[in-house]
Symmetry: D2
Subunit: 149 residues, 4 copies
């Protein structure tokens, strides 16, 4: 169910962020608490949406909120204190919903730690109405991102 | 993929906890940040494992850790400040892995907010070896829970 | 600097909440991570402000936000998994600023785990202007709370 | 009470980290939730202790844990989404206790957002005994750090 999509996603529709594992992220097993990965996905998604020019301020200006409606995370290997992680996000599809895939790897050796997907739907902020297709503004941003690169 | 399993789970293998939505859980949309739900699942799972006599201290004494290897969350409706939530967890299966299902409902009207599943595998603490079947200790705990009730 | 004020605070200006220590709150030392206590203070403060009729919705309706401008926490003893904690908040003063004191005790034996204080200032939401006295609405709420009891 | 100590701390006993403000850190006021700053302090402290060669692995190897026993935070100005923050930590003193001071500034214009202090005491891991002086190992690390620079 969790795809390996990054070989099929244009680089212009991906972004990566670095994460440094500190004490506050650890659980009693001395590995990053699994519940903290949603924040790592957020960081990668944020960088991706900024990159295509549709970050949080632009979303707000466009009149849509984009709540996450589905989140799936597979934990393959643990992260430990001092590790540098590379979290990558890429846009898989944007039709009815916005589907983003993620990979988190340990920087030192590239080992895959986590694979994830999120699904977001647009909600018109003024009315609270869920949109059953992604709004045109996102499609324009994606198109621009693809042609700039 | 996210089942509606609670009608098929014996009550003795379920548990619920109450959650009160406070300011710290909210995001700028004034709803509970989706990344916080992993903690709600943890609270319900913790109550469930305590109930069957295999809470964290017993896990530790048994020589196994139980990392979450898969987590899937579907966000159906948002939770807002002041809401009382009821988070329910139930054991779906315990064969190769421990599969737990979750439902989070608003207490005031029973509306379903979130459905989720987690998968855990046993890891022998002394050796770090992943177990490809759930250890006997868990099966005994489940059996005891079912016969006590 | 951290007072022991609860013997001088009228009961009507205090509130308590219960907290159950679960796995997600722990750090590698197997005690509650110190950074999580801000959430416990939030829970107790939230109950307190609800009790006097000036919870988050009423704050918002009154046209003021109340950011925390100072937070001091003293960690006296650690909390461990399975502990039930009682977090108490009480209003120490409300003149230029709103000063709230906190105590967190282990429920089983009453041992003091944490003592804390927060200072909040009112900010007029419409203009972003910090108020150098607490607004009249809070004083009225405090007066009502004291006379109802 | 919160000093402005950085002009008196040797550069060798300071460290800085960058923090990027993402959506998950925000509260409904659209500013970073005050409870999240403990993590920013952790990140800066972690960099500082790594720098002097007494990071978490070295602490553990030395047989001491260093719980935070006091934390004081003053919130001067809010951080908003997209802000880059610079969190600086520096060792103020290491006699009975380890006292670290912090400043968090907005990278774009250097405006001071937060000032903080933490106090840590050494606890002998094997016995759980609190030490009423900082152990010699820390003093050696500090001395080495000062003479290398």
């Amino acid at each position: 169910m969790l795809r390996k999509p990054f070989d099929r996603i244009p680089a212009a529709l991906t972004a990566t962020v670095d994460i440094h594992v500190t004490f506050d992220l650890l659980d009693p097993m001395k590995v990053v608490y699994h519940g903290n990965y949603a924040r790592f996905l957020e960081a990668a998604r944020s960088a991706l949406l900024d990159r295509i020019g549709y970050g949080y301020p632009q979303m707000e200006a466009s009149g849509y909120a984009w709540p996450v409606v589905d989140m799936t995370v597979r934990f393959c290997a643990p992260a430990r204190i001092g590790d540098r992680l590379i979290a990558k996000a890429g846009i898989v599809s944007a039709e009815e919903k916005l589907l983003i895939a993620y990979e988190i790897r340990r920087a030192s050796d590239g080992v895959l730690l986590t694979r994830a997907e999120t699904v977001q739907m647009a909600v018109e902020a003024a009315t609270g109405t869920t949109q059953w297709e992604v709004p045109r503004i996102l499609l324009e941003k994606l198109s621009n991102a693809l042609h700039q690169n």
